[in-house]
Amino acid sequence: MSEIFGNYCEVTPEESAEHMCLSFKPSSVPIKQRWRNNGLSADFLGDYLTTFFPKNNNDPASIKKQASIRDAAAYIANELLENAMKYSNENGKIPNSIDLTLMEDKLIFTEINGINTAQENNFKSFITELENNDPDKLFMQRLEESAMTDSSSGLGYLTMINDYQAVLGWKFDDINGEHKVTTQVVISI
């Protein structure tokens, strides 16, 4: 039985115009060595999208739109991949994956990773805090706290919501004794 938080909606493949999925094995190489792959994968997803938003050099609005969609996709994908890498259960069998689905009026990011029980509980507490507070106030509070605590935990999600007007949702499942979290981020295009 899945546990759902936030605005989570199942996406069926036939609904999407285009989608791309990247999948990684969490334990194959140390995190330090794999960190650069987050940026490479995120940039790739952002650049890949530009094909669907062609720019016309005589139309500054089309140039700006293409850059804005590419950069927003790269930022969000990078944050999701960084989180997956930091918090995934390296000893588990669930692979990390990120799927980018392009629909007529929105982009849907779906990131999946395994997670241990303690981290799952921390994550659910954060999501509950997010659901029960004004995201803008929580964001400013986290920025202030990050200066005191040297922690940037949760800031990635808060920037997506506040700066990129993203809508977030989560699904938690137990699969063969392992915990799996699916994070979904939707932005309008």
Binding site: I31, K32, W35, N38, G39, A67, S68, D71, A72, A74, Y75, N78, E79, E82, K86, F139, M140, L143, E144, S146, A147, D150, S151, S152, L155, G156, T159, N162, D163, Y164
Partner: protein, 114 residues
């Protein structure tokens, strides 16, 4: 002059110019990895009464980097009579979306997106 760099980014503190210039792509793995840059920025706050932070060539910054900039702005805010100018680029998406938050942390900050 104090320079911190790797293959993707460069941070240059120029005491004579009272400026710190960022360029490239910053996606370091958490606040701990940003510590050398935080230290450089805190030195710049300690040594000056006015400082310009140029981000015009900083193409990408992850959320840990945003936390790093917030920490710096809060240090600047806490120093009496300190004048902070941030210069960015409106052509760089993250700057147009996220830099305004720094001004909310420090309303006296001068933010100029060219």
């Amino acid at each position: 002059m104090n320079i911190i760099e790797d293959e993707n980014y460069k941070v240059v503190y120029e005491p004579d110019q009272q400026s710190v210039i960022f360029s490239g792509i910053l996606r370091l793995g958490g606040m701990a990895e940003y510590a050398p840059i935080v230290e450089c920025l805190e030195q710049a706050v300690a040594e000056n009464t006015e400082l310009t932070l140029s981000l015009k060539a900083l193409e990408f910054l992850n959320s840990s980097g945003i936390a790093m900039l917030s920490k710096f702005v809060i240090s600047a805010r806490n120093k009496e009579d300190f004048e902070l100018n941030i210069v960015g680029s409106s052509d760089i998406t993250w700057q147009g979306k996220s830099l305004k938050n720094l001004q909310r942390l420090m309303p006296a900050l001068s933010l100029n997106l060219e």
